[in-house]
Subunit: 305 residues, 2 copies
Amino acid sequence: MSLLVVGSIALDTVETPYGKGQEILGGSATYIASCARYFVEPVRLVGIVGNDFPDKYLEFLKESNIDTTGLQIREGEKTFRWGGKYDEHLAGRETTFTELNAFETFDPIIPDAYKQSDYVCLGNILPSLQLRVLDQIRDPRMVLGDTMNFWIEGMKDDLLKTIKRLDVFVLSDSEAQMLAETKNLVKAGSKIIDMGPPVVIIKKGAHGALLMTKDDMFTAPAFPMKSVYDPTGAGDAFAGGFLGWIAKSRDHSFENLKRAVVYGNVMASFCIEKFSVDAIKTLNSNVIDDRFKTIHELSQFSLPD
Amino acid sequence: MSLLVVGSIALDTVETPYGKGQEILGGSATYIASCARYFVEPVRLVGIVGNDFPDKYLEFLKESNIDTTGLQIREGEKTFRWGGKYDEHLAGRETTFTELNAFETFDPIIPDAYKQSDYVCLGNILPSLQLRVLDQIRDPRMVLGDTMNFWIEGMKDDLLKTIKRLDVFVLSDSEAQMLAETKNLVKAGSKIIDMGPPVVIIKKGAHGALLMTKDDMFTAPAFPMKSVYDPTGAGDAFAGGFLGWIAKSRDHSFENLKRAVVYGNVMASFCIEKFSVDAIKTLNSNVIDDRFKTIHELSQFSLPD
């Protein structure tokens, strides 16, 4: 099954209590594709970088069996750069700088060869650009979209238009609270389903994720981590694991959506072990399945006799 | 199986965004006993009130099949009173007043008939008083103890002595973080197990609870609540449901401790639906088991084929 990823590709400068990463590979599409490729290959990537994008990163994408036909390399421009600094508990993060560069005028042109993509993962980009992607795709089997607080605050109309066209809408707890205007996540999930997307997933960081449809609900714990190195990209890794599993299994039943949420949590747990995609890039299906089983053991219990 | 509860009995004045309860029945022992009695009867209660304690509350305890032989009614003194006000999201709470009254000089004397109690639930009272209770009990099968931030901050030595004698130590996420001096709850749980108690349960409010032993871990979601009326007593209701189920089933296996955590979450979910024990007092085993099944459905998933 074909899986298309559209999102940002960035050079991140990240500071955590444990170290500093300078111009390391980041961006939503990077994390999503690096995770999804463990489930389906090749993963189709659409994004933009400048011609300063390091060869080693380009090689990494290609070696990861990520199809970069849709990667635009803009001559004479620089790659999107983002800087972030986490507080001592990795709970809060401050954006130290944002240089959009080539990303500012990104037009997500979908190559003809990608227009028939079964699964589409819209990483966090402008909602209007997410819509523009969907207008170019023919009959996808499932579209997953992510978002961020910035679009909820500043581009709500576009966002509401976009999420009506999603099959699965993934957002963080604080984003769900902001969008639904309630602190209660169960109520927030219901309100967001009423806005259009039939499946809503609320990511709760160390508390796992909540999957909701109109009639069903599922909650999966996060993989228990004794230490976290860098939380950047965890939400994107979740999306990559979720949609990767769905594309691999081609099963859209609620029972299988649950498993996809667990695979999402698994991929997020690897992501936060190191900077950038450093921990993700050395995985294999055995270690991924081991963590899946750990989360299974951690959360299963039997009814009383 | 006999279950003994020792803790506070109070008249609470609670303000939430939804209303105000004036001198309503509260206190850790009240919540614990009111929940545990759905699993084992009678529940033995040791606590203290003044002679102003309303007859209707005394009748409620007796009608609930709670054995009040160990309830001290101190002549010429007033009952412990506590006032609390919650913020608009029920996330934070401010103590508006504390009048210890008779509770200030509480000496938890265990009646002879209670000294052979199989299960002992130590509600949140001074750690030194919890120890004093344990010194009077003969060979209990399981002792569960709760605590609060106040003792961690101000009476850490006493607390550390006390928890060494517990079989199950229950505390909230913020208390665990404070005691273990780490924000990471998995690490906090491990560190607290090293302090003595073989079983540690960290209550995470709307995120459920984390059960840990040296070798095992289990995480149960909370019952999904679309609205919460008053969170007061939720932690005590959890303890009552947990130990009530263990006392009823007499099974200390990890598999059954998991179920007990889920029953704890179930009882906490009823507790927060109304002021005081108003929602708890009208329950029956069918509605309790229904919520148990809901949490089961909410969190179970199957391994991929």
